[in-house]
């Protein structure tokens, strides 16, 4: 194993499930590589997630190339601790060449090709680089947060661990992705008054026709939809995570369920003016959009079920109940003490000094093949397939990327040999 920095064909940055899957596929092709990890294997899962989080996919679906979940409860959902064990187990089984406690501080292209990877434990030179540092390094907080009065405590989902962190009093959760609805529910159950600011969201039932919704999506091939075959790739890559929770009781976590538990729904947080929060009047429409999209998906699953000999009818879910609009909230009234931003995450590429970032700071890439020779990225939503952001989606992407990378390295080798011969 590598004891210190030096030269290697490929550097993989990040030892999460995506980086390790790539490592496995590179090893299968006998491509020399090292996986650099700033913390321990599955670091973000260890340090940057809330306590009650569980995977949105059932255990039986959790698999990585050359590795499958084994355990007593295939229909359960892994806790954060179990995910860490699962990924660490994978690293160990595939004997991935991981250097933990190694933080990449800068990556720059080398003249003539390849990269210089500067770390806090010495530099590496490589011919190709795979960025697998994750999609959720930094919380995204909207600009309106700057106008929130100081007496209101602000917290991101990145920092949130459990309701014990919160001061007594009301909580406004901003964002209705899986994160937002789960935290709103948990905080409400802990006895707080909770408001949930709802923008565009993805509604899904946990169970459909007696099976986990992920079973249907997987079986019907929807999770295999490719990035180069969808209508609007930018849109699907930005979609918030679906309103699901990985609870063994397979509870429904939609907006109606939250309303039933006393969570107050308001529109997207659109502004702050004179100490008052302003909520968008678009709540009814974002709910209608999510309901319609869910119905379309369920109709697609019904068609698939019928073609594949499943009897019976699919159930339908009641439309989202939209409360009487509340467009303002005076923060001076004391109803809200804490604002919890569940407004998404973004990758952190501050260390990447390769001119490959677009104006939004994202890596320009085509299905993980970055717009720079020898540079690859993986582990992003809908990178190559709808399932790309799931653990079980990492394998196919890693396989494709390793194939391209191997071809690239052999091309570089041929060019070098030709140059030498000439």
């Amino acid at each position: 194993m590598f004891e210190r920095a030096g030269r290697v064909d490929v550097v993989v940055i990040g030892a999460g499930h995506s980086g390790l899957a790539v490592s496995h596929c590179l090893a299968a092709r006998s491509i020399e590589h090292v996986v650099l990890e700033r913390g321990g294997v599955a670091n973000s899962w260890r340090r940057e997630r809330w306590d009650s989080l569980r995977l949105l996919t059932p255990n039986w679906l959790s698999r990585l190339p050359g590795y499958a979940w084994t355990g007593p409860d295939p229909d359960g959902y892994m806790s954060v601790h179990e995910v860490v064990s699962f990924i660490a187990g994978y690293a160990s089984v595939i004997r991935a060449p991981v250097l933990t406690g190694t933080t990449v501080t800068r990556v720059e292209p080398l003249p003539g090709g390849g990269f210089l990877v500067v770390t806090d434990r010495g530099p590496w030179r490589c011919r190709a680089l795979v960025v697998a540092s994750g999609a959720a390094n930094l919380p995204v907080v909207p600009a309106v947060s700057a106008g929130i009065p100081r007496r209101i405590r602000q917290l991101t989902a990145h920092e949130y661990r459990n309701p014990g962190q919160l001061e007594p009093g009301g909580v406004l959760v901003v964002g209705a992705s899986a994160t937002g609805v789960q935290l709103a529910d948990e905080i409400r159950r802990a006895g707080h008054e909770v408001m949930l600011a709802v923008g565009e969201h993805v509604r899904l039932p946990r169970v459909y026709r007696g099976r986990d919704i992920q079973w249907w999506m997987h079986a019907a091939g929807i999770l295999d939809d490719r990035y180069d075959q969808v209508d609007d790739l930018q849109r699907v890559r930005r979609l918030p995570s679906p309103q699901l929770v990985g609870a063994r009781e397979r509870v429904l976590m939609d907006l109606n369920a939250l309303s039933d538990r006393g969570v107050r729904l308001v529109g997207r947080l659109a502004g702050v003016r004179d100490g008052r929060l302003l909520f968008s009047g678009s709540l009814a429409n974002v709910c209608a959009l999510a309901d319609l999209k869910m119905q379309r998906l369920l109709a697609t699953l019904d068609e698939w079920a019928k073609r594949n000999g499943f009897g019976g009818e699919g159930e339908r879910f009641p439309a989202t109940r939209v409360p009487r609009p509340q467009l303002e909230l005076d923060l001076g009234g004391g109803a809200i003490r804490t604002i919890l931003w569940a407004t998404g995450y973004r990758p952190d590429y501050a260390w990447l000094a390769v001119p490959v970032l677009d104006r939004k700071g994202m890596i320009r890439h085509d299905g993980g093949i970055a717009d720079w020779p020898g540079l690859y990225v993986t582990g992003l939503p809908f990178l190559r397939r709808r399932k790309s952001s799931f653990i079980h989606g990492a394998g196919d992407d890693a396989h494709d990327i390793a194939a391209h990378l191997a071809h690239y390295l052999s091309g570089v080798a041929r060019t070098a040999a030709a140059r030498k011969a000439g």
Partner: protein, 189 residues
């Protein structure tokens, strides 16, 4: 996935979707061109009557112009002791919303290969005059809500029509202007 029978259907809602999609692609590559400025000029005539005209605007990096100048007369009805030379400004807001949503419906329908036969919107904006008259400071000046009801005859299912209307709201400028706060700066020359 199963093979679907190819549906060949020529839909014409009078919307050039190819041009719109082309513009989207071009402006993704050159986002500066996407920055537009819309303008209006208003002259007071008499009493509550004013006339607003629009002609020039800025976009695609240069000055643009409507084919002709358009004029909107605004006034108030006789029960407000006015001469009723035009729509009230709040009715013009409803017209703006209806025009925007309806254009969106036509464009989305074209893009989704749905032939429209008729589209009719009926709009209502509720208002408590105690606001603008300063009778009760708890009552806002503007609408307390806007209701838009669409009657649409099209070659599409009820769900598809509902989706058209929802998507049109999602992409509508005037819907956004009305449902979300906008900073307004008024100066005197």
């Amino acid at each position: 996935m199963a093979t679907q029978q190819a549906q060949v259907r020529t839909v014409d809602n009078g919307v050039n979707v190819e041009a719109l999609l082309g513009a989207r692609e071009a402006l993704t590559a050159a986002p500066e061109g996407a920055k537009f400025t819309w303008r209006a000029t208003c002259n007071w005539i008499n009493g509550t009557h004013s006339a607003t005209t629009v002609r020039g605007f800025f976009g695609l990096g240069e000055e643009q112009s409507h084919r002709t100048e358009f004029r909107f007369d605004a006034d108030h009805p006789e029960i407000f002791a006015s001469e009723d030379n035009g729509a009230t400004p709040v009715e013009i807001v409803l017209a703006g919303l209806a025009g925007c949503l309806t254009a969106g419906i036509a464009a989305v329908a074209q893009n989704r290969n749905i032939q429209l036969r008729s589209v009719k919107a009926t709009l209502e904006g509720g208002m408590d005059l105690q606001g603008i008259l300063g009778i009760d400071s708890d009552v806002r000046n503007g609408f307390d809500g806007i209701k838009v009801r669409y009657e649409i005859d099209a070659d599409a299912s009820k769900e598809e029509i509902e989706a058209l209307v929802a998507q049109s709201q999602k992409r509508s400028a005037v819907y956004d202007i009305i449902t979300n706060p906008t900073a307004v700066t008024v100066t005197v020359a």
